[in-house]
């Protein structure tokens, strides 16, 4: 299957977003192109998590925000190739909820596990750390036969513009 390709800057940014919103789930949109060998991420756009009622284990991107992101993507000649979110204190694996709520066939769902750190406090000590980041491709054609398949990720060195 096609890999998901992104550069180091985007990879770090996705993971850092999860650390910033910990203990809540972060979420965002991956913009780029579907190429022969891989889906290439050109930009990762942060989005707001509207599940404020249960942000520690649920995320949702407001459709309105997505329209805005899509419009921006169109203007830049980019497509939506996937989404990313984090799992606070939970493995970087898709859950039943993740699969049930995934509808963007052919897109990648990238999940980062962020673990809380027990430390004795003090300003400047990290309170959490992003561990694994995994990508999953939503495969299938209809709701009834969809699955999230582990997708290889290629993280390339950032090329300066």
């Amino acid at each position: 299957m096609q890999a998901l390709r992104m550069d180091q800057t985007q990879y770090d940014m996705i993971r850092r977003h999860g650390e910033e919103t910990f203990p809540h789930e972060c979420c965002g949109v991956l913009l780029g192109h579907a190429e022969e060998a891989a889906n290439v991420v050109v930009d990762a756009i942060r989005a707001g998590n509207i599940r404020t009622d249960s942000a520690h284990n649920r995320y949702q991107i407001a459709p309105q925000e997505l329209i805005r992101i899509q419009r921006e993507a169109r203007q830049r000649g980019l497509d939506i190739v996937g989404f990313y979110h984090s799992h606070p204190d939970h493995p970087a694996q898709w859950s039943k909820t993740d699969l049930a709520e995934a509808h963007w066939f052919g897109c990648s769902y990238v999940i980062t596990s962020v673990v809380g750190l027990q430390n004795t406090g003090g300003a400047g000590t990290a309170r959490c750390r992003a561990t694994d980041t995994n990508a999953f491709l939503l495969t299938g054609t209809v709701e009834e036969d969809k699955r999230l398949d582990a997708q290889p990720m290629e993280v390339t060195a950032t090329v300066s513009a």
Binding site: R51, N57, Q60, Q70, I80, H90, K96, D98, L138
Partner: protein
């Protein structure tokens, strides 16, 4: 008009990201789209022709669910429609996924539990899956929550909206000196997380009321009542019975305490024991009556023990038993409690089927912001007024009805006759003289003033707020205690 097609559906529109249709309403536009590309239909609609729940349709920037007419909302050529499948997900919900294994860290932490036959790994897992709600993070709540956390309780909810004060520290060991001024919930959470980071702490920074109690209790299996007032005790009891969960109860007064488990299926509830609340003012709070600091420590531990026994299903819980603790004599006694078949809440024909106004039930008048000028016929005097009269040299006799040890801590020059001695010593007083009675906060002095008024004293006033108000508003050098 344009319809923007999301990436996953472009394979059905010949890879087009935008499709043009002519239409006058949203429904017409979508119908035009699906007639051009019939494969789209099953992705957008359910079998009975409704839009799939996860499919969001936007006319420009508005969700059609919120536009007048919804799918029949009008569109014109300059509008665009966007089809946006939902983007959502999340980690599995901790509450519904039962823990079925202990981590190596947990095995090490709870090893002394694991080697007890009555606990073992199975029992420790029961604790890990347990959900207990503690009402109050104060005298009883402090030891209760700390030991439940240490024992490995999975989910611990705490209800408290109070702030840590210096006078809490002699007994509420979950809070430290550095926590004065902080919300009790935050201070408690820090202590509990330091003891055991595995516990999930759910904070409810609110007053428990008839409006929110049932909703809050819904996610818990056991309630431990650490309340400090009667209306809330009755509220907690009734809400537990209505929710079908047990209420691990304890109460303290000076040197004595009581503990029991109410609300068990065949057991009595709090109202079986105390069908009616005491008249307001009869039972002083810790602030008024004082409390030996270690007492709630002991009773809170008994509550923690009973809670753990209920979760493990081991031993004999205090159902139908009222444990009486006298710490001065260090004697423990027990009374049998029977479920009252006619109990209005838990009896066979309950009359209380929903939560009521408990302040009213306990005879506490609704708080008004205007201080009463008269209570039970006794005129109330503000501390400012007393100060004015004293400064003006008026012939006011100040009667202090507190205890001698209180007088030695702080006094404002009143004549001391402790409340209980008043009937014998009333002859020391002049019934025709302007008299202002005070105590610490105004409760005892009100009773004294009513007593004097009945004895024919015509010019008796109660000092509203007592010496505490005097210290607060007139002379801060008068010690607060």
């Amino acid at each position: 008009m344009q319809i923007h097609i999301p990436t996953p559906l472009r394979q059905y529109t010949g890879k087009q990201a935008t499709v043009h249709v002519s239409a006058r309403t949203v429904a017409e536009a979508l119908a035009g789209l699906t007639s051009q590309f019939p494969e789209l239909r099953k992705h957008l609609y359910t079998e009975d022709g409704k839009l799939r729940a996860f499919v969001n349709i936007y006319r420009n920037d508005e969700d059609i669910r919120y536009i007048d007419g919804k799918e029949n909302a009008p569109v014109n050529d300059s509008d665009s429609l966007s089809i946006i499948p939902s983007i959502a997900g999340g980690a599995p919900v901790a509450e519904t996924t039962a823990a079925n294994a202990l981590t190596p860290e947990e095995m090490a932490r709870y090893s002394r539990h694991l080697i007890l036959p009555e606990v073992g790994e199975a029992g420790q897992l029961k604790l890990k899956n347990g959900r207990v709600l503690c009402i109050g993070a104060g005298g009883l709540g402090a030891p209760l929550t700390m030991y439940l956390a240490a024992a490995g309780l999975g989910t611990l909810g705490i209800v408290d909206f109070d702030v840590v004060e210096a006078s809490n520290l002699h007994r509420q060991v979950i809070h430290g000196t550095g926590d004065i001024g902080r919300p009790k919930l935050d201070s408690a959470e820090d202590s509990l997380k330091a003891i055991n980071p595995n516990v999930k702490i759910v904070k409810f920074e609110t007053k428990l009321t008839s409006e929110n109690a049932l909703r809050i209790f819904k996610d818990f299996d056991i309630v431990a009542d650490g309340t400090d007032n009667f209306p809330t005790r009755y509220l907690v009891n009734d809400a537990c019975v209505l929710s079908g969960i047990p209420n691990v109860y304890a109460s303290i007064y000076r040197f004595e305490g009581q503990a029991s488990v109410f609300g068990a299926p065949d057991g009595p509830c709090y109202r079986c024991l105390y069908p009616e609340p005491p008249p307001p003012g009869l039972v002083p709070s810790c602030a008024e009556g004082g409390v030996l600091g270690i007492l709630p420590g002991l009773l809170g531990m008994i509550q923690a023990t009973e809670t753990i026994k209920l979760i493990l299903g081991e031993g004999e819980p205090l159902i139908g038993r009222l444990l009486l603790v006298d710490t001065l004599a260090m004697r423990f006694r027990e009374l049998k409690l029977h479920k009252n078949a006619d109990c209005p809440v838990c009896g066979s024909h309950p009359t209380v089927t929903k939560l009521i106004d408990y302040a009213e039930f306990c005879g506490i008048p609704a708080k008004s912001t205007v201080p009463a000028s008269e209570i039970n016929g006794v005129p109330q005097m503000e501390v400012g007024e007393l100060k004015r009269r004293m400064d003006a040299g008026e012939n006011v006799f100040v009667l202090d009805v507190r205890e001698p040890f209180e007088f030695s801590i702080a006094q404002i020059g009143g004549h001391l006759i402790p409340l209980n001695d008043l009937p014998q010593r009333v002859r020391e007083l002049d019934p025709n003289r302007e008299t202002v009675v005070h105590c610490k906060v105004g409760g005892r002095s009100q009773r004294a003033a009513e007593f004097l008024a009945q004895r024919g004293f015509k010019k008796v006033h109660n000092l509203a707020g007592g010496i505490a108000a005097w210290s607060e508003k007139i002379d801060p050098s008068v010690p607060k205690y």
